[in-house]
Amino acid sequence: MDVGIVGYGVYIPRYRIRVEEIAKVWGDDPERIKHGLLVEEKSVPGPDEDTATIAVEAARNAVKRAGINPQEIGAIYVGSESHPYAVKPTATIVAEAIDATPHLTAADYEFACKAGTAGIQTCMGAVEAGMIKYGMAIGADTAQGAPGDPLEYTAAAGGGAFIIGKNGGKTIATIEGTYSYTTDTPDFWRRDMRPYPKHGGRFTGKPAYFKHVLSAAHGLLRELELTPQDFAYAVFHQPNGKFPLQVAEELGFSNEQVMPGLLTPKVGNTYSGSSMIGLAAALDQAKPGDRILVVSYGSGAGSDAFSIVARDAIEAKRDAAKTVAEYINNKAYIDYSTYAKFKRMLVR
């Protein structure tokens, strides 16, 4: 495979709500939640933000890092489970807002939390086949969690964008390989026209998240003949802080490999943005030659695993756009009533 990442960018909204603030409303013990989910606070989209605005800001950051003419982008795929329209692509809004129109193909993807990495695979295929010069894959969400549902503590907002192209001087990281594992597993879903998802509680763990993430990771390591010791960083989909640490331990990765890309404690679960922002956080720190394992997970269910090696160009391009840490540290706390208004749970 001769493809790599030419540029990447993220966006995380400024507003945060603390676990304590949500627990106070529902009579939960905040310490138990924080310990159980390993989440302290989560990002909240402002009243004028949605998946399209988040995707655009992430995409603009990716173009800045890539340093390419956006007219050379031949495909844009936006993965999300909170597209602003049911019919009318988010990808066209992004394409227009980064000046990539009109000579390109574009589409919206949906696969719970892994639609963004599915977009990366599509771009890899199209670049490798010579159909396009560059492809952009975005994972972005303003995640939904029903009031009072445990999901409310983690369902957050954010997104990551990656520009894929042939390996060359502009490539900041090479994608060595990808491996997917997919089954029909109804662990989490949202029916048409319903505002909030439903989930199978504990059923989302062993037969869902763990089975798919482990299978995709094992498949990739086997195919590339690599072991956990070959990686500097490991990024797993992070619905909470606990699952990725457990799955890392089971695979033989240390906390040191996982922590740089583990953002749930400070940001929450950005759904389609989750593993994309985690990968960006690892790239923000990676030195040339460092190998990164990324394994996404989408309920329903499936996992995409990637092995990525940072290259020399990463050092020069890193500062061309805001890093994950800059977005995490620029924050303003809101209370539950403001949160309810922003999320349109309170309407006058």
């Binding site: 400024r14 009243p47 602003p84």
Partner: protein
């Protein structure tokens, strides 16, 4: 707003496309068809403005325009862009007390409004303070 009118304005609302006169080099926003300085000898061409500027003046809005009721109090500012033109825009993601004249602003992409529950969504530019 009618859908075609919004659609026509997408280049300037999304990407700050204004115009520059090839004769006097002045930059204008929103785009014009005729250069007000050079008149018939002006040569206007599309020009993409840099998304940075400074707050020239601002007002804190307590009585909102339609569709902005849930955002009061919010800041409406005149921002002078680095390329010269001034535009009126909301300063988003801030406590109104944070905004000061002279503050540096970056232009960001935000949802501007919607045509009811089943109508089209409008996107465009807003200002955001550069300081954290």
């Amino acid at each position: 707003m009618a859908v075609p009118r919004f659609w026509r304005e997408i280049p300037s609302r999304y990407n700050l496309i204004g115009s520059r006169c090839g004769n006097c080099n002045k930059v204008m926003f929103p785009p014009r068809h005729i250069c007000p300085h050079c008149r018939r000898i002006g040569k206007l061409e599309p020009y993409k403005l840099k998304p940075r500027g400074k707050v020239v003046s601002y007002a804190i809005t307590h009585v909102a325009a339609n569709g902005f009721e849930d955002q009061v109090p919010y800041v409406l500012a005149i921002v002078e862009l680095e390329d010269g033109p001034r535009l009126t825009t909301q300063i988003t993601d801030c406590d109104p007390a944070e905004v000061k004249i002279g503050d540096e602003v970056e232009i960001v992409f935000r949802r501007m409004g919607e045509e009811g529950e089943d109508g089209v969504l409008y996107y465009g530019y807003k200002g955001k303070l550069v300081k954290p």
